[in-house]
Symmetry: D2
Subunit: 362 residues, 4 copies
Amino acid sequence: MRNSFGSLFRITTWGESHGKAIGVVIDGCPSQIEISEEEINQKLQKRRPGSKYTSSRKEKDKVKLLSGVFKGKTTGCPISLIIENTDFDSSKYEKTKDILTPSHAKFSYLEKYKIFDYLGSGRASARETAARVAAAAIAEKILEKEGITVLAYVESIGDIKVKNKPKDIFELKKSLETSQIFCSDRKAEKKMILLLQKLKKEKDSIGGVVSFLTSDLPKGLGEPVFDKISSRLASGLMSIPGSKGFEIGNGFEAATLKGSENNDLFISERGKIRTKTNRAGGVIGGLTSGMPIFGKVAFKPTPTIGKKQKTVTKRGKKATFELQNVKTHDPCIAIRATAVVEAMIILSLADMILLNKTARLI
Amino acid sequence: MRNSFGSLFRITTWGESHGKAIGVVIDGCPSQIEISEEEINQKLQKRRPGSKYTSSRKEKDKVKLLSGVFKGKTTGCPISLIIENTDFDSSKYEKTKDILTPSHAKFSYLEKYKIFDYLGSGRASARETAARVAAAAIAEKILEKEGITVLAYVESIGDIKVKNKPKDIFELKKSLETSQIFCSDRKAEKKMILLLQKLKKEKDSIGGVVSFLTSDLPKGLGEPVFDKISSRLASGLMSIPGSKGFEIGNGFEAATLKGSENNDLFISERGKIRTKTNRAGGVIGGLTSGMPIFGKVAFKPTPTIGKKQKTVTKRGKKATFELQNVKTHDPCIAIRATAVVEAMIILSLADMILLNKTARLI
Amino acid sequence: MRNSFGSLFRITTWGESHGKAIGVVIDGCPSQIEISEEEINQKLQKRRPGSKYTSSRKEKDKVKLLSGVFKGKTTGCPISLIIENTDFDSSKYEKTKDILTPSHAKFSYLEKYKIFDYLGSGRASARETAARVAAAAIAEKILEKEGITVLAYVESIGDIKVKNKPKDIFELKKSLETSQIFCSDRKAEKKMILLLQKLKKEKDSIGGVVSFLTSDLPKGLGEPVFDKISSRLASGLMSIPGSKGFEIGNGFEAATLKGSENNDLFISERGKIRTKTNRAGGVIGGLTSGMPIFGKVAFKPTPTIGKKQKTVTKRGKKATFELQNVKTHDPCIAIRATAVVEAMIILSLADMILLNKTARLI
Amino acid sequence: MRNSFGSLFRITTWGESHGKAIGVVIDGCPSQIEISEEEINQKLQKRRPGSKYTSSRKEKDKVKLLSGVFKGKTTGCPISLIIENTDFDSSKYEKTKDILTPSHAKFSYLEKYKIFDYLGSGRASARETAARVAAAAIAEKILEKEGITVLAYVESIGDIKVKNKPKDIFELKKSLETSQIFCSDRKAEKKMILLLQKLKKEKDSIGGVVSFLTSDLPKGLGEPVFDKISSRLASGLMSIPGSKGFEIGNGFEAATLKGSENNDLFISERGKIRTKTNRAGGVIGGLTSGMPIFGKVAFKPTPTIGKKQKTVTKRGKKATFELQNVKTHDPCIAIRATAVVEAMIILSLADMILLNKTARLI
């Protein structure tokens, strides 16, 4: 699938960090969805964690809608979205172009392709994910019709963890609206911000965990056996730069429990069958159970840091690397990744909703 | 992709637990690979954790090779493998067919398809994964040519964790050969076996974690941005029944570290560039770095247990469920899952090796 | 796609002419379709042009249904169909194995794969298409629900052409039921049979044209711009062994007409819009117009003939080739191809019907 | 595949006739190919049949290269090409927006999507194909490395057919360079031009046939059984707007011949095996034989004509339609289609060349 994601609602992203633009083509979007350039931009704006604790590159990121929409509605034809790259400075990359940045894609891309666009990390830059977020703004319309909400938030940064968790998705939504770093717990947030400020001074970075939560879902989404909802989400979320771990439901905790402890028992409430608990995170047998999906994604610390690190050049000569334009790099990618985690879940669910329309002949 | 996995080396599995047979079609296997029915069966046998601590269903699992091989070599045409279902007893499923087994696929399949083959869980049975293991026996030939070894082993069962880890893949391989439950640490193994025996008496089950490790790999495998090696592995491994979490490299630990702590520094050794440490688990920028890939998969406890559990029927009436034919169910799916974890990694790597042949025009 | 055809309703065929079996896996078939092994076999039987004018290999071709159906209904899980190879004699192929049969796949397969299963042409045998016909027996159920009929018939053999054409698909269906060679015109049929008898004596073969016709179709089937209904049909039909040409509607004749002559004018009849004429063959802008689809497929003469032909060996040495086991080869592949033409159209339409369910959000 | 074509070298096109732009994303292009914006534009220019006998819309069609190329070479990352729409007048479409243009996509798109961008036919406009031609300019680089040339030319317009055919592809290439309408035969060309002028006066259009020819090809391209080279070409060429028929090699003529007449006998020349004749059009068993591929595509006359035609409105009321802005419509789409026929063959071959790299393990 390379640069495409999804089966029926399929996106193809393109573009490099310091190229002319980045963008995405959405193929398979149903017709009759009301959408406008403005609405997409508003959603992007809302999702953009443009605080002082994320990269200060002023990505105005105005999305242009180039095709697939006529008189305010999707036509069923491919939708092309484009975001021009404007605020960047490529000059600093030339002198380190032969130095292998530690834990950075330059090395592996060079091994694979024998060429690497080293300006702002080119295609390997997290900037690529803006196209996913833009596409998700349209996919979200399919979810809205089913009354589905998807949220992602910062669960931990370094050793600082969220403690007081909102009791449901509505409370979570509210609490995130006033957060500077997409964290639902004000106390934890304060500590996190202090840590981020300290790290910025140290020219270092830090890892973090992003949690996600949805509202109740339609039942039966997901396609056995290789496109289970858990498999598709894992695929989407582990394609986000810097992701190193994934959990659905209670995740690794489930591996420590007995069956009698871990099972979610079925109950009937007002004529509807649901589970009493939801340790599974809304997934049974790889399909949605109707209960909310929740889980976590672990992000490593940003590898490109201002601190001096030992490394070698492309030809194996000893060298050192220290990031110059620190201000354009997030000290903690988990914060900004919340928007991308939401996007990948939204895109996955939209696709699964469409696929599900063909599950039965009835 | 539903019942297919892979892009160039693509498998399509089929079959239900108590149907006539299960099987797999491999499309895109290169020609000129020496393989025989016997060799596939030997590999399966070796991988089969047929100890007394796994299900005692006597799955003789003799694979028949029906196509795609001529005079001992693959021809480039699709390879069809079939395993007949022989040793099963469907009689016990009739009386519980309307009862929703807790945390079991019956509920979600019924919601999706309005029909469910409830005999031995039908398609949702882990038996389906035998077809993946059979296909991997052929995919492994592509890896062998590159000198690649892939191993998976039991890292923990419940709270019991492996402590002494083998220093490399060769030692690991040796230690697994004499293990009854695919565990590399004899001390841990003993405790695990005691726990399994206790749970069997209690008619309960337990979760577990499977770790995986490869030898050094070719560099540059994986396809940015959505088929990163980490993404593809996550997709494959999270499609295994019962999997709830995935880590590549140090996984969730990375989320607690600083960049200066987590980065793997490049060094040059005897003219070759490698990383001094390998916290990343062999993945940089979503592509293989050449270092061994390692990581973990969390498995929940087997949901179908002998202990009596409260539940409801398909129509919402109160009911209880207790598994009758306990002996055919593994108390800990993680043990048997080791073979499937290996299979999914092998299949992913074989596909990535083929895809990589088209990365450059040279 | 290699050995797979279709997007949502996707078949994957496998097997060689003289291997143990051939078969097909159907992935993406909706649940709730009533189907039985018997019904599939009946359909196959009806489609089988087992007259004395086609190959006399007694392909009993009993399909076994191995998965995906429970209590008489499809479950949404992959359906595996298998046909054992029984009546064949491989002995005659050994002595000609190094001789390049003129116009035969042996040469190009050897160039591609460096290995070729030469027994009965292996995978390149038209026998592979039996798996497509079996799969179509299930796909047809999706069409039946929409009231769609698909027919293919012999339009010409050599220079002998059908003259009196049935006025609609019902009359066509009737006329084919009593034909020995799937031809709707008794006069032409007689001449064709005489020609076939003459050619059999001459140890030669002959080309032919197959026409196809459907009943009225749902409107809007097909996916712009690369999966237009015409494109998908062309792809499917030109994948049948021996096909050399394809027409939809008036085909090459359209290239000789003026717009004012060729256009099909819209009219309104009893509140429904249709076209007055149907030169387009039921396709407008690549989508179905609702009118019947019709067109043609040209088949070359069977290349393997009993007549002695000059050729060379794999190593370029001069040689001659004359087919020994003449009786197992059809003198005119077009006759038997009618069933495969129907199958590929049925499979294409079933897929397009499913795809169309996701065209609009409504 | 909808708006994507190809398996490894995969293009996704987007854009409407009167939208802001059209474009294409190429995914899977190997790295290390030298290419520039200028070169793509030169190729487009050369291919553009901008004579007075085609549409006079001044499509300057300057392609912008937005991604995937760094320092003059492809990087292996997706290549985004965009062509802004500049010279168009949408005003004339409003008053006919509810009238069903005869034999035009408006009807079937409305049936499928319940919405249609009627400005210049939106997505159904042949303008979409410019994106394919742009993508082919890059794919062609992969062919050039193998020394492959692909040419398409006008074989007939109405009843006027080319008589003197060039003896090989080099002569053909030369003869096309001086043609106004991509026709190799000067005598035929003159008659064709007279016919076109006459039709323009009559406000009518005319059909035509495009022939294609390649130089010698690598052997073994194509993927049995559903992606045979003939199947893939048919799929690609029948996706071009207005195409109604396809032939490979001698096509429908093969259906009239005996096996002994139609077979291409193998010979050995200077140690190389080839066929004496090439009736098959370079395809044996669905794979390339190494001989040149040739064949034909039939195009219907442009359906939108200036002549007054009877039709109905979307709601079934009687109406008439006569094209107003005649000058922007080609009287014969076959002429301009030559560039698209070349493009689709080039794209197909580039993909097949990449796929072939994985055919054998060797």
